[in-house]
Amino acid sequence: AQTVTQSQPEMSVQEAETVTLSCTYDTSESDYYLFWYKQPPSRQMILVIRQEAYKQQNATENRFSVNFQKAAKSFSLKISDSQLGDAAMYFCAYPLRRNTDKLIFGTGTRLQVFP
């Protein structure tokens, strides 16, 4: 079965510090995309970062970066210099199969940021 596991239901970090959110997944595909989405209290789903599995280089988007370990099927999100506005639910997601539109989402990690 294709699954996404986010093993940390909740995480907390102090402002300006770094935090890493973990995600593991299971797929038999060789080429695929992986996504991290942020859902603040406003409930909107906002794309944080995308990783293409055939690229060895880890994706980076300003303070957000990923540690993509393809063999281990691990896709963690690192947030550097955390800000109060980073407080949100974070979801890892990927397409169920290569020929499908269906994104599979993890259960989410709630990130709290303390001043």
Binding site: Y32, Y33, F35, Y37, S42, R43, Q44, M45, I46, L47, R50, F91, A93, Y94, P95, R98, N99, T100, D101, K102, L103, I104, F105, G106, T107, G108
Partner: protein, 115 residues
């Protein structure tokens, strides 16, 4: 930056009533989606739509659900006879490419409450 917009933000309806949730995807996107999130649970795929027809649907998307693109801009989700378990946040999304090849851009969601 272009956005996906959804209306209304909150819809309350009685069990058995029909509801229509509306979405305006990003204008140059061709692929449209509905996802839902029952409170405290995972984000779940409902349906994808392209070229005026359903591309893919999940087991959740039964005969009570339908989608339509009535004009060049709107994309709607209709639930014919709502049930209590339809209460959820419904997210519309659009993308430039299908199959996870480009990120999904989500709207702010419509919170549906069935009483």
């Amino acid at each position: 930056e272009p956005e996906v917009t959804q209306t209304p933000s909150h819809q309350v309806t009685q069990m058995g009533q029909e509801v229509i949730l509306r979405c305006v995807p990003i204008s140059n996107h061709l692929y449209f989606y509905w996802y839902r999130q029952i409170l405290g649970q995972k984000v779940e795929f409902l349906v994808s739509f392209y070229n005026n027809e359903i591309s893919e649907k999940s087991e959740i998307f039964d005969d009570q659900f339908s989608v339509e693109r009535p004009d060049g801009s709107n994309f709607t989700l209709k639930i014919r006879s709502t049930k209590l378990e339809d209460s959820a946040m419904y997210f519309c999304a659009s993308s430039e490419q299908p199959r996870g090849n480009s990120p999904l851009h989500f709207g702010n969601g419509t919170r549906l409450t069935v009483t």
